[in-house]
């Protein structure tokens, strides 16, 4: 397994995959920073802590940017093999097909983890620059930096499946974009939010109540456990389907 990963690591050289994984967290942080610095006055008057307000605000950016970035990264990583016609080279080597699949999955998860760290550290930097009051709420920031990624686990394995399945990456990318657009509507309703494209929107440590049409208190997200479970279950389901399809595809 390690040797396949080491090889995949080298194959990413001179591609956009790693730069994207660093650029999109910066994009998120930059947008968040600009909005926060413009709205600081109106926000400090609220009852909520600035740290919490930042998390709620940033989540609206994160829930769209992360699935998009993942769609593109997965597609780039897989089209590396499609474009170079290298599946046939790989399958003629004495290596199990599953290790190729897991190596690709591992690559994406690792890049997501690194992006999460960037987002986490970025939150602290923004808080310091804008002089947020109170101690740094580490658990809250860690939650917002990593829970949305956990929520995209089904999207990762789903996109991985599509990108491997279809040589032409226009289709997987179109699906990824479409899903991201739909997410906003899916998450509004209890039933449609069971669909996996809604999870990134719902995987957040806190949410802001809306009372009489006005933004109110920020409270812990009570549905977190439920959507974490769903994310893992559906992520694993798509992983198994993707793996099965991958092993079949290669022999025919």
């Amino acid at each position: 397994m390690n040797h396949v990963i080491a090889s995949d690591q080298l194959k990413m050289k001179r591609t956009f995959i790693k730069p994207i994984s660093f650029l999109f967290p910066f994009l998120i942080l930059l947008l968040s920073f600009l909005i926060l610095s413009m709205q600081k006055e109106s926000m400090t008057s609220q009852v909520n802590s600035m740290w919490e307000s930042m998390v709620v605000l940033t989540h609206f950016i994160i829930m769209f940017v992360i699935p998009m970035a993942i769609t593109i990264m997965v597609s780039n990583l897989i089209s590396l093999e499609h474009q170079n016609n290298s599946w046939k080279l790989l399958f003629a080597l004495p290596i199990s097909k599953f290790s190729f699949y897991f190596s690709k999955l591992y690559m994406i998860l690792k890049l997501c983890f690194l992006s999460g760290i960037v987002i986490f550290l970025g939150f602290i930097v923004i808080g310091k620059i804008l002089n947020f009051k109170g101690d740094i709420p580490y658990a809250l920031l860690l939650g917002e930096a990593f829970l949305p990624f956990l929520g995209t686990f089904p999207i990762i394995t789903f996109q991985l499946w599509l990108s491997i399945r279809f040589k032409n990456q226009a289709f997987p990318i179109a699906i990824g974009v479409f899903g991201t657009v739909c997410m906003f509507f899916l998450q509004m309703n209890k039933i449609t939010s069971m669909f996996f494209w809604a999870y990134p929107a719902l995987m957040t440590p806190v949410k802001q109540l809306i009372i009489d049409g006005n933004l109110a208190e920020i409270v812990p997200n009570g549905d977190l456990g439920f959507y974490t479970l769903l994310s893992i279950v559906f992520g694993l389901i798509f992983m198994v389907i993707g793996m099965f399809d991958f092993s079949r595809q290669s022999t025919e």
């Binding site: 040797h3 090889s7 080298l10 001179r14």
Partner: protein
């Protein structure tokens, strides 16, 4: 001799079309086996089956005496291959491509990469991005990748595809020395006989999915030895006359006599004999046929009777 590749009744069907039809390939230790056939004959399909990339519809494959279906991983450890177009990562240099494969194959010795680059003549271009390689360089890198794992069996599908004569010559020299230097058995496919003529010792010819010839290359060469063609006014009676003398005479499509002997005395005897029989002799000439002619004849099903 130990059998390195042995197939029995190997068949591949796509829907209703039979692409490879009951072929029995036999490659022995130390062979350079030329696998020949025109475009669409079924060479790549056969090679894909030999590597376990696709499953046969019917038939058995044994490699190194072991059944491929049950020992695929163990067998692939000892096989290097290049199927259809060489695969490589265009965003990497030649060196990095070999390094990526070295990591996959868990080869400890990093010097092996430079060794391979030297063998295939890419040492000077090793730090160039592969997307800037010429076609010949890409083919050589493909062969290098196939050689990296020190295989005992090398399967190359049209490795000379798109190369100029000098490039073909280079690859030929490289492949020729493999069996003696490293004890590697080679199977190499091509659609041009002359390309592999000077390196193969054994040839299998596939046409429309059928293996129509498989033997030492000398046997094929013998078929290309020159012969004498005689044109007369009445070829049927000429044939009868000569056959009475115990001579082996055939007729070609132009109704000319074909004799597989070129002995001067014999030819003058035949000429005299025909003239004595009051037949008009129009022409006597020697026909030299290249291996390519033989190959074309075999694969286009013409004149098979006189071969």
């Amino acid at each position: 001799m130990t059998k390195i590749i042995e197939t029995s009744h190997l068949t591949k069907k796509y829907k209703n079309t039979t692409v490879v039809d009951e072929i029995n390939i036999s490659v022995e230790q130390g062979d350079i086996y030329g696998f020949l056939g025109p475009n669409g004959a079924g060479k790549t399909t056969t090679i894909r089956m030999l590597l376990g990339l696709i499953k046969p519809t019917k038939g058995d494959i044994k490699v190194f005496g072991k059944k491929l279906a049950d020992n695929r991983m163990a067998i692939l450890k000892e096989v290097g291959s290049l199927v259809e177009y060489p695969s490589f990562y265009a965003n990497l240099t030649g060196y990095e491509n070999l390094e990526a494969i070295r990591r996959l194959l868990r080869i400890e010795d990093k010097h092996r990469i430079n060794e391979i680059l030297r063998t295939v003549g890419l040492l000077n271009a090793k730090d160039k991005l592969v997307k800037n390689y010429s076609l010949g360089m890409k083919q050589r890198l493909g062969i290098g990748i196939a050689l990296l794992g020190s295989p005992n069996l090398l399967i190359l599908d049209e490795p000379t595809n798109g190369l100029d004569p000098a490039g073909i010559q280079e690859i030929r020299e490289l492949i020729k020395k493999l069996p003696s230097l490293y004890g590697i058995t080679v199977m190499i496919s091509s659609h041009i006989l002359s390309e592999i003529d000077q390196m193969a010792n054994k040839v299998g010819i596939i046409n429309n999915g059928n293996l129509i010839f498989q033997d030492r290359i000398e046997v094929l060469r013998k078929k290309s030895s020159p012969r004498i063609i005689i044109r007369v006014n009445d070829s049927e009676s000429a044939q009868t006359i000569l056959k009475k003398d115990g001579l082996n005479v055939a007729l070609n499509s132009k109704k000319e006599l074909v004799i597989n002997e070129i002995d001067d005395d014999l030819i003058s005897y035949i000429a005299e004999k025909l003239m004595m029989s009051r037949l008009s002799l129009y022409r006597i000439y020697e026909e030299k046929r290249s291996l390519e002619d033989i190959f074309l004849d075999l694969t286009t099903n013409k004149e098979r009777d006189i071969l």
